[in-house]
């Protein structure tokens, strides 16, 4: 009796209860663990006596059910943000960030970077302030740019927008950016081993107090000349010895960073001090915080294993979960915005995998990419979006997570 047989039983029971029930696959949980093999094997593997009454909890199987048509780009898609339910933000290796409305059409092109965009993020995630959304992008040209775009743009024309603010200061390419939960600060991680914190609004309000800030005309911007602001970092977090590849800002006070120096560090955002340092033995490429109370850290790097640590556990650096179904480097990992158990990871082997903490097997594997997958994110809570080296943004929708 395997998952399929159990699903059939549940479906027939449900059908008898309500006649218009649609048959669908289910997953089954025994003692907080998903059943991924025939039931007798599961009992043998877990050492559960066959005499006992087995309590099976059934949930809807989590898997993408539909592949949306991919969104074409001009170059490798290196960054994606799906935190806004109506827009998708993508960053591309041609230096342009794009806004896609409803996963169908590119409404805005955010230009200005001279190097490949490595990360992009909405600043005001779901909420619109006076009909416009703010976006920050980090690039290999060592700068961050802040964009503002109007949400009420008619579909059909892709409008080119320049940055209203540039944040230079890093001496090497920016690898990752994160926006704090209160939407006032941005932190950026760079190849120059530093993490810099930037204020989003500060320079506009009291422009005179910022000494470095200067006003200059953007000469190379096409179209009407527009003014650009420059800001400087409010603080710099020093401590990593190699490229800082990823940052996450789950709570107001704490920043997590992963680096190629094989460490994951926790920083106090206010004081800029390092509060926790964990050595993991592999160069890390991506990091995300989530899980129960967003306290678990998932990170992947230069090996095909996605690891999850619990920083609350004292005195141990052993990961509490390890997911090793990928066959190449892991390029991105993201927790589900609401579920404690689900996360996705993308890898250079061209796969995006959907994981559940309650089983070591992947729930689903999306093979729609032809080449390396560079970035992945959740969108609207029920879709997985991923961009890769085949210059496409793939959208797998229909992931029902209760």
């Amino acid at each position: 009796l395997s998952r399929m047989g159990l699903s059939e039983i549940v479906n027939s029971l449900l059908l008898s209860a309500e006649p218009d029930h649609q048959a669908q696959p289910f997953d089954f949980i025994v003692d907080g663990e998903l059943v991924r093999m025939p039931l007798h094997q599961f009992l043998l593997a877990k050492g559960i006596s066959a005499e006992r009454v087995l309590e099976l909890e059934y949930i809807k199987a989590v898997a993408p059910r539909k592949q949306e048509p991919p969104l074409p780009h001009d170059d490798w898609v290196s960054a994606v943000d799906g935190s806004n339910p109506s827009f998708i933000l993508t960053g591309c290796y041609d230096g342009l960030a794009r806004i896609w409305k409803d996963a169908a059409e590119c409404t805005q092109v955010l230009e200005g970077h001279s190097g490949a965009i490595t990360s992009a993020s909405f600043i005001n995630k779901g909420v619109e302030t006076d009909g416009s959304l703010h976006v920050v992008t980090g690039s290999k040209d060592r700068s961050l740019r802040l964009f503002k775009f109007d949400t009420s743009v008619t579909i059909g024309s892709s409008k080119r927008i320049g940055a209203y603010k540039i944040l230079p200061g890093h001496t090497s390419s920016i690898q990752s950016i994160a926006v704090d939960p209160s939407r006032n600060m941005i932190c950026s991680a760079s190849w120059d081993t530093t993490i810099k914190l930037w204020a989003v609004e500060g320079s506009e309000e009291d422009s005179d107090t910022v000494s470095v800030k200067k006003r200059r005309m953007n000469s190379d911007a096409s179209g009407p000349e527009e003014s650009q602001l420059e800001g400087s970092a409010s603080s710099t977090l020093l401590g990593h010895t190699q490229c800082v590849s990823s940052v996450a800002w789950p709570e107001q006070r704490t920043i997590y960073s992963a680096s190629w120096d094989h460490s994951v560090r926790q920083w106090d955002a206010q004081t800029g001090r390092e509060t926790w340092n964990m050595f993991c033995g592999k160069a890390l490429n991506c990091l995300d915080c989530g899980g129960e109370g967003s306290s678990l850290i998932a990170a992947g790097g230069s090996d095909p294993v996605l690891r999850v640590w619990d920083p609350r556990k004292p005195g141990t650096t052993a990961p509490i979960f390890q997911f090793s179904s990928h066959s190449s480097w892991i390029s991105a990992c993201k927790w589900h915005p609401s579920s404690w158990f689900h996360l996705i990871s993308s890898s250079f082997d061209g796969k995006v995998m959907l994981w559940d903490l309650r089983t070591a097997w992947p729930l689903a594997s999306v093979d729609s990419h032809k080449d390396k997958v560079l970035c992945a994110d959740w969108w609207k809570g029920d879709s997985v979006i991923s961009g890769g080296a085949d210059s496409k943004l793939c959208i797998s929708s229909g992931v029902e997570i209760a």
Binding site: W76, S78, S173, C243, K282, S302, S328, W329, L374
Partner: protein
């Protein structure tokens, strides 16, 4: 006196069968009448007393009359095979046996003869003997005996079965002794002779003639025919005795006449023929009527011959064989798990070149790599994604490429065609770019004062790539930077006295300090920390002191042709790869000869390299593999470097009989880049 013993049980009643037995003989032997009569008599007689025993032991008296007609008591034993102490119960057994056998007319005749006897009792004393077919007359005494027996009494009338007990020994003391003479005096006086004897013994003890703790006499006999193989003094000097294995004891099936269940059926014998020769049973039981009919051993001749052959061909000297566990000969190496991290698996491939990738170099921070190929391009790649950032189409074969080790100077030095090209890699921030551009600009070329001779190197601006071309007088082969990033060296193998050139980037100046070299130079490298310089020629490695401009050491490799050289970051250890697939590790403090020679590749080694942070080194070869080793150099000078082979990295394909052309470690991670002739660059990670 013979019959005085008490009998606990009365005499058994005479049944017709016992009586028949008495007359017709014992069925066990059926030989003589004497036997028959004796059996009956014994059956009827009381338990033999000691006297009866004695009488039985006495020789039998011959009797004139044939005794078969008479029933006698206590006939002496002799002829019957059944044992002499047979009692009534035995005879009953025999009777039963007789009864069981009687299935024919014999039983009827038995019954009829018994009836006859009862009829004739008292009157006519005649009886018919079937066996001898004659009539037997019975005397009156015999008839009396028979009648008494039939009544269950003792056969003889004067035998009292219950006599009174008579005690034959007297216990009461008789009044008179044998002699009434008084005891002599000598019985009470101490003996003079005894005293003398004691004095003698005492003296002997005092003088030590008598010893009490005498050593035991060793027995002076020996085993004449005994088994002497085990005793140590009988060990032979030459061939040591190897006892033959003990054969198993023969079982029932090996009897000449085994039970039927041991005999295989014909079907089983046929099955043996289908079996393999080895599996077939060696011995098949057979039955013979008697031992006499057992044939001679059929393989006797064959086995005798084999045995003789064995003895003839047996080696006369014992071979000395040393039993050494091959595992124990292996050096004690740490396990590979403890030596992690080291590159193991290929996770990234850098695809894009259109020809064999001849050389690659990693930027100082490890963010980019540059590769040169025979397709006339130099490519700059991003390590973390494997994306090609830039392509410089230089238009000629790129033989060697080297990234400036200083992070502030993103300059590529490449041997393109026969000259050296310095390129701005265009990575890094604006300030660096400006400085690099300034650096890569040659002012007005000052004409050298050589006059008659063509200068070794001319520095010329390259407008196409905003770089500098160093035009060499002959074709250059390799370029190597100093760790500070200002000096670099090029090797011109055919340059004779101007073969190894030193260049200074900031001053745009070149010179050639090494005039005499022992052979054609192959490669030249700077010491990582000190002002030393290593030049590898085809057979030797020369170590120069750059300040004193003299040879410090000359390392003799013993290789046919050196192809590559790499210096340990500590500076005291050098590895050298050769074109015959051998790798030499030199400890320059230890000796000028190789500390270890590793023959690990089947084809030419193309490149050897040390890791800058981890204790790792690697070699790449034309046999499409790269080998990774653990090479630990200890700070303690007494401890030799530890070399452990770790991993063979495969994956490159052979193209035009060329394999892996270059390998370089990532400067900060335990990763290895390999450039293959299959126009691919692979990154092996831990």
């Amino acid at each position: 006196r013979t019959t005085t013993t008490t009998r606990s049980a009365p005499a058994p009643p005479l049944t017709p069968s016992t009586f028949y037995l008495a007359l017709m003989g014992c069925p066990c032997c059926r030989r003589r009448h004497r036997c028959r009569s004796r059996t009956v008599a014994r059956a009827l007689a009381p338990t033999p007393t000691p006297t009866a025993w004695r009488r039985r032991m006495m020789p039998r008296r011959k009797r004139a009359t044939p005794p078969r007609t008479r029933l006698r008591r206590g006939t002496p034993s002799g002829t019957c095979r059944s044992s002499g102490t047979r009692t009534r119960s035995t005879s009953v057994t025999t009777s039963q046996r007789g009864r069981s056998r009687s299935g024919t007319g014999r039983a009827e005749s038995t019954a009829s003869s018994a009836a006859k006897i009862t009829m004739m009792t008292g009157t006519r004393l005649k009886i018919w003997d079937d066996y001898n077919a004659e009539e037997v007359k019975i005397t009156k005494e015999e008839a009396k005996i028979i009648s008494r027996m039939m009544k269950g009494k003792t056969p003889h009338a004067n035998v009292d079965p219950y006599p009174d007990y008579v005690d034959w020994f007297e216990y009461a003391d008789k009044g008179h002794p044998l002699s009434n003479a008084p005891e002599p005096k000598r019985r009470f006086v101490p003996s003079k002779w005894e005293q003398k004897k004691v004095v003698k013994l005492v003296r002997a003890i005092r003088k030590g003639w008598i010893k009490f703790d005498k050593p035991k006499d060793e027995p002076n006999y020996y085993l004449l025919w005994g088994d002497d193989t085990d005793t140590a003094d009988n060990k032979r000097q030459g061939l040591s005795y190897i006892p033959a294995p003990k054969p198993n004891l023969p079982g029932h099936e090996e009897s000449y006449n085994p039970s039927v269940e041991y005999i295989p059926t014909q079907e089983e014998i046929d099955n043996y023929q289908l079996m393999y020769e080895e599996d077939r049973p060696k011995f098949i039981p057979r039955r013979f009527e008697s031992l006499r009919s057992v044939p001679a051993y059929e393989k006797a001749l064959r086995e005798g011959f084999d045995r003789c052959l064995d003895l003839y061909l047996c080696p006369r000297t014992r071979k000395k064989r040393i039993n050494i566990d091959p595992e124990s000969l292996k050096p004690k190496l740490p396990s590979k798990k403890d030596l992690r991290p080291y590159p193991r698996t290929c996770y990234l491939e850098f695809k894009g070149h259109g020809g064999p990738v001849t050389s690659l170099s990693v930027e100082a921070t490890g963010q980019w790599i540059a590769s040169g190929s025979s397709d006339g391009t130099i490519r700059v790649w991003e390590v973390e994604t494997g994306r090609c950032l830039k392509v410089f189409n230089v238009g000629a074969d790129v033989h060697h490429i080297s990234w400036n080790p200083s992070p502030e100077r993103p300059i590529l030095a490449a041997i393109v065609g026969r000259d050296l090209l310095l390129l701005n890699a265009e990575v890094g921030d604006e300030e660096t770019q400006v400085r690099t551009k300034e650096l890569l600009h040659v002012g007005e070329p000052t004409p050298e004062d050589d006059g008659d001779k063509k200068p070794a190197v001319r520095w010329v601006n390259n407008d196409k790539f905003d770089g500098i071309t160093l035009i060499h007088h002959r074709a250059a082969s390799t370029v190597e930077w100093h760790s500070k990033g200002d000096y670099f060296t090029t090797v011109v193998p055919t340059g004779e006295s101007r073969a190894v050139l030193l260049h200074q980037l900031s001053k745009k100046h070149s010179h050639h300090p090494f005039r005499k070299l022992p052979g054609l130079p192959v490669a030249a490298v700077f010491h990582p920390t000190q002002k030393m310089f290593f030049v590898a020629t085809k057979k030797f490695v020369q170590v120069y002191d750059l300040q004193k401009a003299e040879v410090v050491k000359k390392l003799e490799s013993g290789l046919r042709e050196i192809s590559s050289i790499s210096i340990h970051p500590g500076g005291d250890n050098v590895i050298v790869g050769s074109k015959d697939g051998k790798l030499c590790w030199f400890d320059t403090d230890l000796s000028t000869r190789p500390y270890k020679m590793l023959k690990n590749h089947s084809k030419d080694i193309t490149s050897v390299t040390f890791h800058r942070r981890y204790p790792l080194f690697a070699s790449s070869s034309e046999d499409c593999t790269a080998h990774v080793f653990h090479g630990m150099v200890y700070a303690d000078l007494n401890q030799n470097p530890l070399i452990v082979p770790l991993e063979i990295l495969r994956g490159h394909l052979s193209s035009d009989r060329r394999g892996v052309l270059d390998c370089k470690f990532h400067p900060r991670q335990p990763w290895l880049f390999t450039a293959g002739a299959d126009s691919m660059i692979r990154l092996y990670c831990d």
